[in-house]
Symmetry: C2
Subunit: 310 residues, 2 copies
């Protein structure tokens, strides 16, 4: 395959597309934004289409689509794009269910096209240092504290409260994507409490208890009702001190001493990886974080809390 | 490995162990019931222990355990048995979550011991005839009607209403285990409605919409409140007629004409397979049915219905 630019169309032009994807594509060698498909939004000087079907049928030549739509519609879009011979990048979560990914994985493999289920938080700069540091320590316990104000970070995103929208697990799954990357052994959920607002189909807060085959105690607190300081922290107690991964993976410290810290380049890393994967037609789909969320819903205890009004 | 009898201990001696497992082991060449572990129940002339730990520590020599306990405690029991070098047979559902199976699968593979996650309904006599018949037809739609009276079939089983107990999916997963066996392509859940009694942590009824990569319409109605005639039916409309699989997989008919019917030998088949698997230390763990249930919880719309009192 000759080395050419990967011509990417963004599908779904909401907050995450504008805040992250456009800039990251512009900054990625070998990638170029070639079109936008969105019912409501467009960019100056770029071909624009209302739907992915229109894009694929009438649009300029493209090699790939990056799906930034809500998870509820993404599977059908991914199937259409793969059927049209395009590489596909999925925002997180990769689907509204785990099993819906299987046929997409099979389609991509058969066509030797790339299906890339992204976990942007895994690209936060202190995640790999944390993983390497933990690999040589005996971990005694892990606690996740992931609390943010939904009104600040998800204004008007009604889909997040609909079935399949994940509620507080939309940010919480970022923590789980880091957890499943930095721990040496797979974890699984053993108990969960899910707080559903009386008027919503997705939880606004959740407490999870997890463990691994060795009995490691892992706990997680997710809350969408956090005002004031926001928390995106993972703390591991080890035989060689307390490791703190904070700022959503941007900073790592041991016993309070900074070890790693860098500015966020998560989406640039995702697109650099997408360009590389697409060059060989390889896929990268790790469903471990979504499986943990599905298990939390499956075995969780539900409570009803006061209605949420955006 | 020399040909010897597989000495099996039943762990958890509730309704399913008494109704099915004891008789099936007695009828299976190469298998012998060697002990029982149960807090409350025992069998005459058989070694009895209160817990699986006591069984493994103080019991007679055994080769395998068959876990008939509620799903909430089964993972830890399976891990203990595998660590003690035993083959393990799991009643359905194989766990309270999907991810908890991974470490067990890894343990079994490493030790070359058998982990067998059973789906008894797949052994119903008309399931394989149905699969073979459908394999050469174009399927237009599938409907599952799985409705039974929980008071008749699960008297006093409080665990079924607790987190991880699955509620109506405890029988419903039997239908899904058949569905995922007889259809030519994998299915996934696209929508679900779950009716939770106000006093329960598991649904008493559920409607599912599923499909496959080709867009096959599949629907399922599960209800635990069925009085009068009970329904355990799967109906497939095809280009060559309507196939009905009824009686939980015991009878198959095409356009009303009986094609296959036989008495239930589901558990005998399970134990025959367990003996065979254990002889080579192979495992058989298909998580597809449990994944569908987890996805239904994940993306399902919840409604609250009247409290359930057993």
């Amino acid at each position: 395959m000759s080395v050419t630019e990967l011509r990417i169309a963004i599908v779904g032009f909401g907050k995450i597309a504008r805040d992250q994807h456009v800039g990251a594509i512009a900054a990625t060698p070998g990638a170029r934004l070639a079109a936008v498909a969105s019912r409501n939004a467009s960019l100056p000087d770029l071909p624009h289409f209302a739907t992915i079907e229109d894009l694929l049928e009438k649009g300029p030549p493209i090699d790939a689509v990056s799906l930034c739509t809500p998870p509820q519609v993404r599977r059908a879009q991914a199937a259409a794009a793969l059927a049209a011979g395009k590489h596909v990048m999925l925002e997180k979560p990769p689907g509204t269910g785990v099993a819906e990914l299987d046929p997409l994985i099979a389609m991509a493999a058969e066509a030797k096209h790339t299906l890339f289920a992204t976990w942007h938080s895994r690209c936060a700069p202190a995640v790999e240092p944390a993983r390497e540091w933990l690999a040589t320590r005996r971990i005694k316990s892990v606690h996740i504290n992931w609390k943010e104000d939904v009104r600040v970070w998800h204004p008007g995103q009604a889909w997040i409260w609909e079935p399949g929208g994940l509620g507080v697990f939309d940010p919480g799954i970022n923590a789980l994507s880091i957890l499943t990357r930095i721990l040496p052994r797979p974890v699984f959920v053993t108990a969960a409490e899910l707080a559903f607002p009386a008027n919503c189909q997705a939880p606004i807060a959740a407490n999870l208890t997890l463990t691994d085959i060795g009995g490691l105690p892992v706990s997680a607190e997710f809350d969408f009702r956090q005002t004031g300081p926001q928390s995106w922290d993972i703390v591991a107690e080890t035989d060689q001190g307390q490791m703190t991964l904070s700022g959503g993976g941007r900073r790592m410290a041991v016993d309070g001493k900074a070890i790693a810290e860098a500015p966020d380049q998560e989406y640039r890393e995702l697109y650099a990886r997408f360009v590389k994967l697409a060059a060989s037609g390889e896929s990268d789909v790790d469903l471990a974080p979504l499986r943990l969320v599905a298990d939390a819903f499956l075995l969780g205890k539900r409570t009803i809390v006061e209605p949420f009004v955006d």
